[in-house]
Symmetry: C2
């Protein structure tokens, strides 16, 4: 398992309810891929959303986001953290 | 106070020690600006570093990073989180 940070663009105007729905859509399918989405942060003005996950691979993270209807635009392993 | 996520590019090859030094350089001066850097994550391969902070303004976040010698390339308020 490893940590990943992914970034979504184009989410201008996202509301707290919409972010919660998107996050819950990820949580509903993540177990099938052995992924866990730990946190998410959103800037509605620029339309940028960041998701922090723990997963077996970057491909597994993207498959969960894809099945939940919102593929990430950028996806990075983040092996270093503090 | 508000939450901010900032992104640094061009940090290819960053090591755990270098990330710690950079983070400690932020922590050493952040109080002057009323900022607190909570977490940081790095991908040495792509050279991408993410920093999560709590601060009175985006400008205050950038001033701390600037004084620590590493201005952020992108900086977003993230009022929505879960």
């Amino acid at each position: 398992m490893a940590k990943y940070m992914d970034v979504h663009h184009g989410m201008q105007g996202i509301t707290a309810d919409q972010l919660r729905e998107a996050h819950e859509a990820d949580l509903a399918v993540e177990k099938d891929e052995g992924v866990h989405f730990e946190r998410t942060w959103a800037d509605p003005r620029s339309g940028t959303v960041f998701c922090l996950s723990e997963a077996p691979s970057a491909e597994a993270v993207q498959r969960v986001h894809d099945r939940a209807g919102h593929k990430a635009d950028e996806l990075y392993p983040v092996p270093l953290t503090m």
